[in-house]
Symmetry: C2
């Protein structure tokens, strides 16, 4: 079984090392991890511009996988990386299991209010809104409700951990819990307790 | 033909007025606009928590539509609203046409660098990265390449306009261009030039 490893780690200088570490955790659970930067199943049209070839490669990777694990750690704002979120929605629509994790555990409303700083204000009904008059989502979720909603609808799970900033993009403990959950959901036989200890 | 109107306008206090204005533009092009806050085709399980009932309602709306137009105006950071991006990926995976627009025209790399302020730095190869060592995407696109990639893959189009801040969440000229493109892509007969003038 193949798992698509969605996340903004593609932007790290040591993306290849993270990919290898994630693949190793998948392999320990009997799964094949597929990183966005891996060679795609079929080479996209070389006449296309770089960005569109990358798009088609990632779409082909997702279609070729049995499940997806998304790194939903907030990225340059209160929400997760846009590319990762797109891929989460894409895989959910394919009807396959999706999982998510974050190395920041604070909830969406609190992160959003912190990011807005002094620009948040109360509406007459008590709800928070930003300086442009747009409400702050307060459902005690990790991010916009569509993300955890899709994970729940797909029978997946969401794992959060509170990591210090220097470990935020490299710690894989929450990711490993997602891999274990994915292996179980996909019915992959697990290694014996001796070898996995 | 039904068009799902994805976007963060659901967070506006006057969301109902925006929904009505968008529906009217759709109707002028022979299309039925479906707003996320519309009553869903089937009522979600009332035993579910609010956030999950909203998720299921939106997913049902998307499944019941023939195309999607996403408001990808940057939302509280360099990228579009996460819920909207999720829905864009979802509809693309269903294989139906998707369109997008933004009322901020500045490109993703420039917006990201502006948001990072003094925290951006150059790698040895000249590429920009943020203070956490993550590269700034520089493909001269509107947002993460997966968003416009999905729109291009689906045969849709992306429309950008530069609106002043006070018109950012209410101007519908770029949206109207998407509706016209969607009507054409879906083969909806257009009103005569007299009545549409």
């Amino acid at each position: 079984m193949r798992i698509y490893l969605a996340g903004p780690e593609v932007f790290l200088a040591d993306a290849a090392a993270i990919a290898a570490a994630k693949r190793a955790i998948c392999a320990a659970h009997g799964l094949i991890g597929v990183f966005p930067l891996d060679p795609p199943p079929a080479a996209p049209d070389p006449a296309l511009p770089d960005w569109l070839r990358i798009y088609w490669a990632n779409e082909a990777h997702i279609r070729g996988c049995d499940a997806l694990i998304a790194n939903l750690t907030p990225f340059r704002g209160p929400s997760a990386d846009a590319g990762t979120v797109y891929e989460l929605g894409f895989m959910r629509a394919l009807g396959r299991p999706v999982f998510g994790y974050s190395n920041i555990a604070q909830r969406f409303a609190q992160r959003t209010l912190a990011a807005l700083g002094g620009h948040a204000r109360r509406r007459a009904d008590g709800a928070w809104e930003d300086g442009e008059g747009m409400a702050v989502e307060e459902f005690d979720r990790h991010d916009n409700l569509m993300l955890e909603g899709g994970i729940a609808a797909a029978g997946g799970s969401f794992e959060a951990a509170e990591m210090p900033p220097e470990a935020r993009w490299h710690d894989l403990s929450a990711f490993a819990r997602c891999v274990a959950a994915a292996a179980q959901a996909l019915g992959v036989p697990q290694a014996s307790s001796t070898s996995s200890a």
